[in-house]
Structures are given as C-alpha cells and as structure tokens.
C-alpha cells in the first residue's frame, strides 16, 4: 500500500482480469444455489463469496488499494463495527418464531 497521493492504477488489462474473476464468482454462486444445500449453509457460502466480491470491487475498482492505509483503516472498520452491532437484532428475530402467538 503506497502512502503518497493516488498512484496510477495497473492499467485496463488487469481490470479486465478482475472483471472476469468477478463474473466467475457470480457463476459459482449460481452453481451453489442449485446444489440444493440447506439454506443456512447456502447463506454462509453466498455471503462469504459476496464479501470476497465486495472486497475485490472495493480494492481495485474503487481504487482503495491505491489510497493511503489510513483511509482504509478509517472506513472499513467503521462499517464492520456497525454491521457487527446490528447482529444484536438476531436473538429477537428468532424469538419472533419461537414465541409466536399460537392458536393452541
């Protein structure tokens, strides 16, 4: 990671390669979808792949790689922190089902 002002990117050839990679990941996602895995596993796999894609897009397409480390260390942790906190919603989501008003 260079710490001077935005450097020149690696050029289009490289970006085309990245683009192909992204399309490939999307292909894998669709492939996994039709393996008929249990929803939970599928979700985990898809999310993992989505984050990889997002990372690549962030890193190369959005030129984050070519910014200062400080920017990366300010933006990414902030977002991850917020999403981590939002995970406190889940216990109540599961309560919704487990404590549903039953027509006993």
């Amino acid at each position: 990671m260079n710490s001077t002002a935005p450097a020149e990117g690696p050029g289009m050839k490289f970006f085309v390669a990245v683009w192909i990679g992204l399309m490939a990941i999307v292909g894998v996602e669709v492939f996994l979808t039709y393996r008929h895995l249990p929803p939970r596993e599928l979700l985990v796999l898809l999310l993992a792949l989505a984050f990889v894609e997002a990372g690549i897009a962030l890193w190369y397409f959005m030129h984050l790689k070519f910014e200062r480390a400080a920017l990366v260390w300010s933006l990414v942790p902030a977002f991850i922190f917020v999403v981590f906190m939002m995970d406190h919603f889940w216990p109540d989501a599961f309560r919704m089902a487990s404590m549903k008003l039953l027509e006993r």
Binding site: G9, M12, T33, L46, F61, H63, F79, M86, A93, M96
Partner: protein, 205 residues
C-alpha cells in the same frame, strides 16, 4: 497543498488521507449508504428468520437468468467506468467522455431490465403486501424495497453520469470529478453483489 480562496493563494495543512474534500465526502457517503443498505437487508433477514412460512418462488428461467444478465450488465458498466477514469487520468478527454456515456448507457439498460422484471412480477400479482403463491407476505415487501432502493441508486447514478459526461466534455469537470463518480458507481455495483445472492439466489426454487 495549494488552494485558492477568493483570489489569494492560501497554504493549507495536509489532508490526513491525501485526498480532496470531494473524494473524502464521497467515501463517507459510501460508508453511510452502505449502512443504510445493511439496515434494510437486516430488516429483510430479521423478518425472514421470523417467518417460518417463507417461500422461495424464483424459477431459474426467467428470474435467475434475467438476474445474471443484469449482473453482467452492471459489472461491465463497472469496467467501462474504470476505462473512463483511466482515460481521464491520462487526459484523453474524448475517450473518457465516450466511456462515461457507455457506462451511462449500460446503467440505463440495467434499469430497464429491472423495470421489465418488476412489470412481469406485478402482472403475476406480486405486490409489496401480497404474494400470489401464498406464504409470507414479506417476500414482496423485502424484494421490492431492497431492489427498489438499489434501483433508485442506479437511476441516480445514470443521471449523475450523464451530467458528468457532458461537463467533462466541456471541461467543466476534471478527472477527480470523474473518479468520484466512479467511486459512487462502483459502490452501486458492490451493493448489487449482495442484493443478487441475498434477494435472488436465496429465493430460487
């Protein structure tokens, strides 16, 4: 770093990130907008977890195929956007403008494809609040609100791209403005990378 206030050159303190305010603001906006999308996606997940009667109605054809095409279009538009930024960096204004228009067109195509799909679903009787196949009504609510929010961002981006393209051709905007637009456009792209698996693939039959 130099800047001009009024007419006298004023010496500034270095920006800790070494990027101009516009780019910094765009990055901040991206984070905040990402939080907005997360909130909506969390709401979707929350309700889905809470609805045992959730149904996954999407057929491989046409929905998933259409989704793939849309993904392809959007990713490609990302590539053309990159080309525009590169061209702008190297000062090739004409090429940059062309690539910007290409991105704009692809974005518009994406929006059209999306709207056509919406129309098909509406004809099948899908609504924000109803669900022709039975099962949890949250499906329509989640689908239309998540994709709708994303579609708004795409349309906004298309308009922005058009404005920037015109301005860039006339020299009203410089390469940094193009780069900033690029950050936004790639972000729209990035959001789709979550919307496609979570809203489409997770709901495939």
């Amino acid at each position: 770093m130099e800047m001009a206030a009024g007419h006298h050159p004023i010496v500034m303190e270095k920006s800790p990130y070494g990027i101009p305010p516009g780019k910094l603001a765009m990055w901040c906006f991206v984070i905040s907008d990402a939080v907005t999308f997360s909130a909506v996606l969390f709401a979707y997940g929350y309700l889905r977890v809470g609805s045992p009667d959730w149904i996954a109605p999407f057929q491989f054809f046409p929905t998933i195929v259409n989704g793939l095409v849309m993904t392809f279009v959007l990713l490609t538009s990302g590539l053309t956007m990159l080309a525009a930024v590169e061209a702008a960096k190297q000062g090739r204004t004409a090429a940059g403008t062309r690539w910007l228009w290409a991105t704009c067109a692809l974005g518009a195509l994406f929006a059209v494809l999306h709207l056509l799909e919406w129309r098909r679903m509406l004809e099948e009787g899908w609504r924000l609040f109803q669900n022709p196949t039975g099962g949890s009504v949250h499906f329509g609510a989640a689908f239309f609100s998540v994709t709708g929010l994303h579609l708004l961002h795409v349309i906004g981006g298309v308009i922005a791209l058009a404005i920037i393209a015109i301005g860039f051709a006339r020299g009203k905007y410089n390469r940094i403005d193009v780069e900033i637009t690029g950050i936004y456009w790639h972000f729209v792209d990035l959001v789709w990378m979550f919307v496609f698996p979570l809203v489409y693939l997770m709901n495939a039959k």
